[in-house]
């Protein structure tokens, strides 16, 4: 009975998104809601590893000892190096094994140090940029459609 209940609880507790691990860069309060004045759920120490569930602007919902919110800027990658590798390998092999039938050989479509150092100008390619360029009216129309409202914000001092 207890085991069945425990399993059910675990199943229900699984988040909809695949949780990504992250690590606290400093001591921080785990907040009940995504704002500074919210109730503190628990006090976490630097280097605590948490599971990231979702992001909302400056705040990230995490599962530590409990579920709560931490500041995005206080989080770093956990020590599980390579959590972000999968798509990267796939994309690289696409170009360097020619598996999609592209004419790629080593060095073509490359932006390694050697590729850039040895590159020669391709003026025809550069000239294409103007074909795709936007006019201010295009940018404004897009922003309006996307609900982007401009506002005044000062740069941060050094």
């Amino acid at each position: 009975m207890k085991i069945a209940l425990l399993s059910l609880t675990l199943l229900l507790a699984l988040p909809a998104l695949a949780a990504q691990p992250a690590k606290l860069a400093r001591d921080a309060d785990l907040k009940a809601k995504p704002f500074n004045d919210a109730e503190t759920v628990s006090k976490l120490k630097a280097n605590t590893v948490v599971d990231v569930l979702a992001r909302q602007q400056a705040w990230v919902q995490v599962k530590a000892d409990q579920t709560g919110w931490l500041r995005l800027l206080n989080l770093r990658a956990s020590s599980d190096a390579g959590a972000g590798d999968i798509g990267v390998d796939k994309m690289m092999s696409l170009y360097f094994t020619g598996s999609t039938g592209s004419t790629a050989t080593t060095g073509v479509k490359g932006l390694s140090e050697a590729d850039i150092t040895n590159a020669h100008p391709n003026e025809a390619e550069r000239a294409k940029l103007s074909r795709y360029a936007a006019k201010p009216a295009d940018a404004e129309a897009y922003a309006k459609k996307a609900g982007l409202t401009a506002k005044q914000v000062d740069y941060f001092p050094n």
Binding site: A22, A25, N36, R55, Q57, A58, L72, L73, R76, A77, A81, G82, G84, D85, G87, V88, K90, M91, M92, L94, Y95, F96, V108, K109, G110, L111, S112, E113, I116, T117, A119, H120, P121, N122, E123, A124, E125, R126, A127, L129, S130, Y132, A133, A134, K135, P136, D138, A139, E140, Y142, A143, A146, G147, L148, A150, K151, Q152, V153, Y155, F156
Partner: protein
Amino acid sequence: MVNSRKLSHSVALLALALAAAPAAHAFDLLNLDVNKVIGVGKSVGKAVTGIGEPEEIELGNGIAATLLGAAPLVADEQVQRYVNRVGLWLARHTERPDLPWRFGVIDSPYINAFAVPGGQVFITRGLFVKLKSEAELAGALSHEIAHIVKKQHLAEIQKKAGIDALKGAADVASSQSSDSRYQHLGKVLNVGTGLYINGLSKSDEYEADRMGVVIAARSGYDPFGLPAVLQMMQTISPSKNAMTLLLKSHPAPVDRLDALDKAVGDKLDSNGGVEKTATFETMRKRLSVN
């Protein structure tokens, strides 16, 4: 728009000092005098003497042509037009809104983005597909835009190649459309492209990050896209070939996050802004391999 108090002060000084100058652009009229007069050099860029806008654009075209000689643009007009609309919208909320801004997605799996003098910004396909939202794209583009607004590459090029390095650079028939049209730039072009190998100073990069979150915020985006991108970069094994040049030419993502954390703190908490758009998802899918 920019801080209006600084702007009206600057405009007043400008009017006094340059009565006869044609007002073609916001700040980049006569390079030397404008930088001195405005004096609040922080907003406008380093005092880059002797390099006017036509010279900057010519050099930028040479650098852009060289980068595209290494890897071409993604042959997808919809994606390219999209990144230009987002990019220009961001650039219009800086101190150099009238540059001939051009944006491009480079057809390469390497994870990187490039800011080219004169207003050209490139992002690789490899980086684009790792982004999770338009706010993240806006953050990455804003960082690059900031480099150009602050003329950081120009300042480095001038330091390395000398004050008169680009004298006469713009006096070339613009009707020349061959690959050899940039030969007259000579060593300066090599110095320029070399900056993408060894990078700018760490303080330049931290500054571009600080400015980048603000440019995104000014444009109505959730400003935490850029830090989210830095965190994504930190999750990739540093030994991956796709990351090598990015890591060689920039401070480590963890250091950039530490610097941003220190500078921003909780100041952007109540900023709000757009994070996701359907258009971004469509474009990301077009570029994806899965």
